[in-house]
Structure formats: structure tokens, C-alpha cells
């Protein structure tokens, strides 16, 4: 499968300035390195972020995503390399002079000020006329639906409301760029999901560029137009959520985003449009699309998402890849069930099936002999 064919597999979104060679990035990191003593937090990183993007920095804690964001806010300076915002070098600009605002993980609401005064805080320090400030504060309160709470102090409102005050405060000065540091981390799951959509609505309405830092991959996938997966101070992959999920460039990305079955093996044959992977002596080889940068005979990892693996009682007659095994575990999640199938050589394959019908009798039970099957395009061969 060629690069173009891969791109065709995922519909190109209407908004894709990153594919336009004419587009000028709003933010440009060029060869940025940040060291804290001996520790390298950011390692020679280059990245372009475009106007109106909702850009997510995703990675485990300590991967450098927060450092990257703090460099945009001005709280850290790169040890090497340059950062430009709308073509202007911002490295020497102090935080209070940058057209960038940040929503903090702890919200950092000023406890001694009312909700309205918190939102007005930045406006009072801008060149906005005093007469206009009240109007702007009211507009922001309306945006986050907190008009009723204008006079309350932060400790007199709930966590979800505090989160919205923090957002309104950061947006009040109409920054070119809004930074969100784990903005929904403190909310419970239901509220978090609602707020994700609220954030997307607000971002779309205002057209402000958002950069969000998160360790929650679902959150990144939901809100972002593009996601940068980071590891050890480097970017591993920068792409749309769909492509990150369906075409991870490495085992790390495949494993970090979503659930995945990883099968270690070696490439046996490479033909014009497919490759075969041998992975266990007693098992038939796996047929999959052509890998990139791996030659015949080299070690590789075959990655396939659980929802692309089908379970059946009989071997499907037309299946490209079908492996026998027995059901080890069944996880019922309501909307779907996850089956853990142990193959003859001990390898466990996860398969996810949606529960489309209520009250359907479960087709498989523990210890049942089953076949797991998947198509040639269902999985990916990645470097070991």
C-alpha cells in the first residue's frame, strides 16, 4: 500500500492547513532543546502549529509536553533553538507581553477576587478602556454561562464552574493563542465529556488557536484537529486523530493510543502489495499491507486494533488471516464486549465486538474454541 493510498483511506478534513505548503504557521518551533541541568526535557524539536488549530500535545508524564507549553507561555526559555509566533521571535518576550494566555491545570483562580474580577484581571492590565471592561466581562460570562455567578468568590462555585471561569479569564484578552494545561483533569468523567464538546464549540466560535496538553488520549482524540504524540522530549508522530489511530508510525504510538494487539515476528516475504509475517512456528504467517522501511527477514511488530479482529465459531472461508484459539476472558462494557482469545502458542489476542442487540444471547463463552480473523488491511506492520 503506497502513501497516497493510505491518505485516501481516511477522509481529508476540510480544515487542513498543515497539508497546504502555502500556509504560514502561527507557531514555529525550530530545533528547540530545553535542558534542566543534565536532564534533557525537549530534544531538538521542530513543530509548526497553524492558526485556528486545536492542537493537542499528548504523552505520558515527563515526556516534555508541559515544558513545551510553558515555553509558549514564556515561563521557560529554550536552551537552544527558536520559537516564533506569527513570524515574531518570542523567546526574549516576557510572559506578560505575549499575546498568549493560559488556562492552568489547577485553574489558578485568584481566591480573593470574585468571578467577574478574575475575568477582568487581565483586561485591567491591558490597554482596554475602563468603560469597555465591564461589557467584555459580561460577554465572557455569557460565553461560559456563568452570569449568575459573577459576584461569587471561587470557593463558592463548583469545580465545573471554576473550570469555566478559568477558561473565560484566559479568553477575555482575546489572545492569539490559548494554552490549556490538562484543563479537564480535575472533572469527573461525565462532566469531562460534556466539557470537551463545550471547548470545541467555543474554539470554533472564536477561531482562536488552542494548544492543549493532556495525558488522556481519548481527550486528545476528541477535541484536537491534530495530535502530537511525544516521548522523551521528542515528537513521535504529529497527525490528525484518525491517522494517529489508524496509521501509527511506531509501536510506541500504536500502544499509547487506544488498545492494540502487538505480535512480534519477522518479515518473511515482500510482494508488490503485501507482506507476510512469521511469528510462531505452529501458526500460519500473517498477511498484511506493505511496511515502510523494513526489509524481508527483518524483525517487526504486527499491530492490530481489537475492533478489527472478528471472532467466529467456524473458520471464515474467505478470511485472509484466521487463527484458532480459545476464549480466555470476556469483558462486558455495555456498549461492547472485549474477548481475550488465547491462541495455541499462548499469544493472547483481544477482540472487540459491539453489542448491537439488547438481550442477544452471548455467542461465545469461556473456554469455547473460536477463530479470530482479520483482513489484510486491518493491521499494520511496524518496526520492532
Amino acid at each position: 500500500m503506497s502513501e497516497d493510498a493510505e491518505k485516501g483511506a481516511v477522509p481529508t478534513p476540510a480544515f487542513a492547513p498543515w497539508d497546504d505548503p502555502q500556509a504560514k504557521p502561527l507557531i514555529r518551533f525550530q530545533g528547540v532543546t530545553k535542558k534542566f541541568g543534565e536532564f534533557v526535557a525537549i530534544d531538538d524539536l521542530s513543530l509548526d502549529i497553524y492558526e485556528r488549530e486545536f492542537f493537542a500535545l499528548l504523552g505520558p508524564s515527563g515526556c516534555g509536553k508541559t515544558t513545551l507549553m510553558r515555553m509558549l507561555a514564556g515561563f521557560e526559555n529554550p536552551s537552544m533553538g527558536g520559537i516564533t509566533l506569527a513570524g515574531r521571535d518570542i523567546v526574549p518576550v516576557p510572559p506578560n507581553k505575549r499575546p498568549v494566555n493560559m488556562m492552568f491545570q489547577s485553574y489558578a483562580l485568584f481566591p480573593h477576587l470574585s468571578v467577574a474580577d478574575n475575568i477582568a484581571f487581565g483586561l485591567k492590565r491591558s490597554d482596554m478602556a475602563k468603560s469597555e471592561i465591564a461589557g467584555r466581562v459580561d460577554e465572557m460570562l455569557g460565553l461560559v454561562q456563568l452570569r449568575k455567578f459573577a459576584a461569587r468568590k471561587p470557593h463558592q462555585i463548583s469545580g465545573g464552574q471554576r473550570q469555566r471561569v478559568a477558561l473565560a479569564r484566559a479568553l477575555a484578552k482575546a489572545p492569539k493563542l490559548l494554552l490549556l494545561d490538562e484543563p479537564l483533569g480535575a472533572l469527573d468523567r461525565k462532566l469531562r465529556e460534556e466539557t470537551q464538546f463545550e471547548l470545541m464549540d467555543i474554539q470554533e466560535k472564536l477561531g482562536t488557536t488552542f494548544v492543549i496538553v493532556t495525558h488522556d488520549q481519548e481527550e486528545a482524540m476528541t477535541v484536537a484537529s491534530r495530535v502530537a504524540v511525544m516521548d522523551n522530549g521528542r515528537l513521535v508522530q504529529v497527525d490528525t486523530p484518525e491517522r494517529i489511530y489508524e496509521f501509527p508510525v511506531s509501536r510506541y504510538v500504536a500502544d499509547f493510543i487506544g488498545d492494540v494487539n502487538l505480535i512480534e515476528g519477522r518479515i518473511e516475504t515482500l510482494t508488490k502489495d503485501c507482506a507476510t509475517v512469521v511469528w510462531a512456528e505452529t501458526m500460519p504467517p500473517i498477511t498484511a499491507g506493505l511496511p515502510q522501511g523494513i526489509g524481508a527477514g527483518e524483525a517487526c511488530v504486527f499491530a492490530i486494533r481489537p475492533e478489527k479482529v472478528t471472532i467466529s465459531a467456524e473458520r471464515p472461508p474467505d478470511a485472509v488471516n484466521a487463527l484458532p484459539g480459545k476464549v480466555l476472558d470476556i469483558g462486558y462494557l455495555g456498549n461492547m464486549s472485549t474477548y481475550h482469545v488465547e491462541l495455541a502458542n499462548g499469544q493472547v489476542i483481544k477482540s472487540q465486538m459491539t453489542n448491537q442487540r439488547r438481550l442477544a444471547r452471548r455467542a461465545f463463552s469461556w473456554e469455547d474454541q473460536v477463530w479470530v480473523s482479520f483482513t489484510a488491511t486491518g493491521g499494520l506492520i511496524l518496526m520492532a
Binding site: A73, N96, A108, F110, H112, R125, H155, Q161
Partner: protein, 273 residues
């Protein structure tokens, strides 16, 4: 279980209160004694209070003490807050360890030595001793207490608040003034009160640092007592004790009420999600 009466608890409570407050109680009772002899009860009277207010030397000493207390605690609060801020927020800088050690030194150095060394300093730089030198001396030793109180508050202070202020357009000084200071204000105020109390209390350092023109109340009381305890001093002490008691009780009631109210508001707020 918790509220059950037991003889052990009752006894230890009584002994504890007696140990702490019996001396003070005796002092208060004898301040209302009409006899000039401190140890002989001769009926209730408030005459010593009246005499106290007509004793010019005592009133002068009280005024000196108040002046010294206000000036030195304010100076100590400004310096102590600055020191705490630098120590907590300054990161690593050259001489930090030495600086923090030196700030807290007066906590452990005996007053006599602090007083003596200050005296030597004032003499060697030719500073005339008086109210000014007592203020300097008191500020020097009470600054470390302010610094301890304020830095413990700063350590628990969410640094993101200051960053948010910078992010929203504050200069570092503006951020300190409009965010940090209002939030740490309770600690700064308690630091000030502590410094003020220490200054009112101090006898040793004031004795070294003062000159003939300035006598503080503790110095005055001490010199009087050496000539014999007079009922006037009992009256004066009772006044001081009342002032302190009223102050402490009021602040603790107010703090308690504020905490209860805040807790209730937080609980109500949490229900809104």
C-alpha cells in the same frame, strides 16, 4: 467514648490550667488590692489603676514601647516577607544556604548575645542609642519569626497563581502586589502581630540597645521590681493581659467563624455540578 468523664483527665486538666494560669490569676487579683503591701489582702480597690495613669514615667515608657513595637514590627514584617519570598521563590542562588541560615540564627542565638553584639555594633558605628536603636535591634531579631511564618505560607502557595498573573499581563511586581500579597496577607499579619508581641515582651535586647533617653515598659517594670513589687505594676500587667486576651479571643473567634462559613459555602458550591 470521647466525652466520658475520667478522674485522670479531670486532674490533668486542672493541674495544667493551674500551672499555666494561677500565677497570672494571683497577679490580677492583687491588682485590685487596696493595700500597698502586695501580699496582704485589704479589700477591693481600683486605686492603683488610677495612680498608674498619673505616673508619668510609666506612661512615657508605655508610649516608647508602643512606638518601638509599631515601628520595629512593621520593619521586621517588610524585611521578613522579602526574605521569605526570596528564599522560597528565588530558586538556587549564590549564598542561599548561608542566607537562610543567617536569617534563622536569631531563633537560636541567646538574647544576651544578640543584644551585646548589637550594642557593640551601635557603638562602633557611632550611632546614638535611643528609640531608633531599639527599633533596629527588635526588627533584627523579630524578622526571622516573620520570615518563618510567611515562608510556611508561601511554600503551600500554588505557584500557578503567580504565573497566571504574569500570563494575564502583570509585571512581576504587579503580580506580587495584586495576587501574592493579598493571598499571603493573613500570614503577613500574623507575622506582624508576632513581631509586635515579641517587641512588647523583650527586656534583654532592649536593655542593651537603649540609651538614657528611651526606656521601654519591660525595662521600667524590671527596674521598679528590683525596688520591690508595687501594686501599680500589678495593675499595669493586668491591663496588658486583658489587651492580649481580648485580642487573641477575638481573632480566634473570627477565624473560626470564617472557616465554618467557608466550609459551608464550599459544600453548597460542590452540589452545583
Amino acid at each position: 467514648m470521647r466525652n466520658r468523664f475520667s478522674w485522670f483527665n479531670a486532674t490533668s486538666l486542672t493541674l495544667g490550667f493551674a500551672f499555666l494560669y494561677l500565677p497570672i490569676l494571683i497577679l490580677v487579683v492583687y491588682s485590685f488590692n487596696s493595700s500597698k503591701l502586695v501580699t496582704v489582702w485589704a479589700g477591693f480597690s481600683t486605686k492603683w489603676y488610677g495612680e498608674l495613669f498619673h505616673d508619668q514615667a510609666f506612661m512615657d515608657a508605655a508610649i516608647v514601647t508602643l512606638k518601638v513595637g509599631l515601628a520595629s514590627s512593621t520593619l521586621a514584617t517588610v524585611l521578613g516577607t522579602m526574605a521569605a519570598y526570596v528564599l522560597v521563590r528565588g530558586g538556587r542562588f549564590f549564598g542561599r544556604t548561608l542566607f537562610s541560615g543567617m536569617i534563622y540564627a536569631p531563633l537560636v542565638v541567646p538574647d544576651v548575645i544578640t543584644g551585646l553584639s548589637l550594642l557593640l555594633l551601635f557603638i562602633s558605628i557611632g550611632l546614638d542609642r535611643g528609640i531608633g536603636t531599639i527599633v533596629l535591634a527588635h526588627a533584627t531579631f523579630s524578622m526571622c519569626y516573620v520570615s518563618v511564618v510567611v515562608s510556611s505560607r508561601l511554600v503551600s502557595f500554588d505557584r500557578a497563581l503567580e504565573e497566571a498573573a504574569l500570563d494575564l499581563g502583570c509585571t512581576p511586581w504587579d503580580a506580587f502586589k495584586s495576587v501574592t500579597l493579598p493571598i499571603i496577607a493573613p500570614a503577613v499579619i500574623s507575622g506582624w502581630l508576632l513581631a509586635f508581641t515579641l517587641s512588647l515582651d523583650d527586656l534583654v535586647i532592649a536593655s542593651f540597645a537603649s540609651g538614657p533617653s528611651a526606656t521601654t515598659l519591660p525595662m521600667k517594670i524590671f527596674s521598679q521590681v528590683r525596688l520591690g513589687v508595687s501594686p501599680e505594676i500589678n495593675a499595669l500587667s493586668t491591663i496588658l493581659i486583658s489587651i492580649v486576651t481580648v485580642g487573641v479571643v477575638t481573632t480566634s473567634v473570627l477565624t473560626k467563624q470564617a472557616a465554618v462559613r467557608r466550609k459551608r459555602q464550599e459544600q453548597e458550591a460542590a452540589k452545583q455540578d
